[in-house]
């Protein structure tokens, strides 16, 4: 009682430069400008030179795969943290986008870039339409429905032997060249990343975040939550369908493995690792997880064991995610103060 030991606590303060550069008008010096732009430029430039420094064809392919997963992960993060819908439908979006693009290219002979664009829009429309019934609801229904659709479609294709059946659709056109393929993917990912970051701060993004917080209050303000959710699901599924469409042209083949569960699970894992709610985090998570999963191929079936261990470790030790942690360290400093 009454022991007057020195009491200290760790204080967390925003860096002065962060406070100064928060206001747009305060950008007076190169130092402040670079404080804001360097992290973004590192990401953009780093991504752009990535194809140039890859050692082999194999790793060049990995970049494209990273980009596809990144699109899915950003779309998952967007839906989960700005809309309140947990989507397990990565495989669904990939499959729908991929098959549409394959059919357009194979049957109608459209060139890849056209079929990708068309299948992104049409695929997103289809996805939104079939998901529409569960949009007014809260809870697990959306997750379950998005999980079931890919299983349903895969079995349908298998049983009815349509769209190539179990063999898939072979002999699709590939991208005009490997540089076009990789830079197309990278530009798409960067475009969607910064576009989504912008979007969630617009009025539309504001409504979506309100829907996540309290959908009844949004309804009471005279807005249809189904309409707004449909818009958001359209955007998110467009990203997934784009990924799927690119995937079939990269592999020049579309099969029922497009509906594999990997496409649903890995983006979620990447979001957890990268830091959910940041939109950049999922991209970072994919940059880490996809190459790791490639490296672990050497271990055969043990791959999944290592993979799971990494994930569990992350959740237990750094459940906030890399990006959240990094942002805090970048923007704030800590010091001990006497109370």
């Amino acid at each position: 009682m009454g022991t007057e030991q020195e009491q200290r606590r760790k204080e967390r303060l925003d860096r002065g430069i962060k406070v100064r550069s928060d206001g747009l008008y305060a950008l007076m010096s190169w130092r402040e400008l670079s404080y804001l732009t360097v992290p973004r430029m590192v990401l953009i430039v780093g991504f752009l030179i990535l194809p140039l420094i890859m050692p082999s064809m194999y790793w060049e392919r990995v970049i494209s795969i990273v980009c596809i997963y990144a699109l899915l992960a950003i779309s998952f993060d967007f839906m989960a943290h700005f809309l309140g819908l947990v989507s397990l439908g990565g495989a669904f979006f990939i499959g729908v986008g991929g098959y549409i693009s394959a059919v357009l290219n194979h049957s109608l002979g459209l060139p890849p870039l056209v079929s990708i664009a068309v299948s992104t829009i049409v695929g997103a429309l289809i996805c939104t339409l079939v998901l529409l019934p569960c949009l007014p609801l809260r809870g697990v229904y959306f997750a379950i429905v998005t999980l079931m659709y890919p299983l349903f479609l895969a079995r349908l294709i298998e049983a009815l032997n349509i769209l190539g059946g179990t063999d898939g659709i072979m002999g699709l056109d590939s991208f005009p060249g490997r540089w076009i393929e990789q830079y197309f993917m990278i530009l798409m990912v960067l475009g969607f990343l910064f576009g989504m970051r912008r979007l969630v701060n617009t009025d539309l993004g504001l409504v979506l975040r309100a829907v996540k917080d309290n959908d009844q209050a949004v309804r009471a303000s005279g807005m249809s939550i189904t309409f707004y959710k449909a818009i958001a699901v359209f955007i998110a599924s467009a990203m997934g369908c784009l990924g799927g469409a690119c995937l079939v042209h990269i592999y020049m083949w579309a099969g029922i493995s497009l509906f594999a569960l990997d496409f649903s699970i890995l983006p979620i894992a990447a979001t957890v690792i990268g830091g959910s709610g940041t939109l950049v985090g999922p991209l970072l998570g994919c940059l880490i997880l996809v190459p790791i999963s490639e490296l672990l191929r050497a271990f055969g079936t043990l791959r999944i064991v290592f993979y799971s261990l990494i994930l569990v470790g992350f959740i237990v030790l750094r459940s906030e995610g890399l990006m959240v942690y990094g942002q805090r360290k970048y923007h704030q400093f800590e010091r001990w103060v006497r109370v």
Binding site: M1, G2, S319, G321, V339
Partner: protein, 248 residues
Amino acid sequence: MLEATGLMVFYENMLALNNVSLQCGDNEIVGVFGANSAGKSTLMYTLSGIMEDIRKKEDMAGGERITVLGRIRYLGEDITNLKPSSRARKGIVLCPERRRIFSESTVMENLRIGAYLATPAQTRETLDYVFKVFPALQTLRKRIGGFLSGGEQQMLAIARALMAQPRLLLLDEPLMGLSPLIQAMLVRATSEIRREKSISIIVTEQYARPVLPIVDYAFILENGAAVLEGGREELLSNPDVRSAYFGV
């Protein structure tokens, strides 16, 4: 019975409790009065240990850093670092703000969850007692918690806390949003519980008047600091307090 010294709670860099010291004797009712954001709930969370839990979760999620300083002694023992569950086992039971009843369980189920720490004999006995103090609950036994009215929910929340066999009951804003009639009933019940169960009670409230008649000693919080304390008469005679908290 309970003695807290120099409690300081920081939410990140915001000071929520500033060097608050508070005592509660055996079989006493202590009032803590203050406006919104004065630190009443923070105080209750700190005393019941819930703050430890919140701190840990925020830490895991990389959220706010919560710092708790100061010492809490209870029955001659230092409980500053005890988990909320161990504090509840020792008899410090919180009846949280906004009731927090299990809204999808029935009244009876709510009470049985509350009685987790009690022996079967204690459970039976306390159940009878609770229905004696709050006869309304008896008829609502099968009702789902979420469908009860505000007053009924508050009765249920207090009853649930009693089922945990408290020796020190922490009531956080028990009168919030209730009609004067129900308020008077709850205040009467609180004083009855203190007398018949011979337990200590710490009660927080924004508006002191309804609770004041049953309070032995009171503290007034302002911006996280205990600016005034004293017995009932002492506070009543202070003109500032009279106008600010008693509305007379």
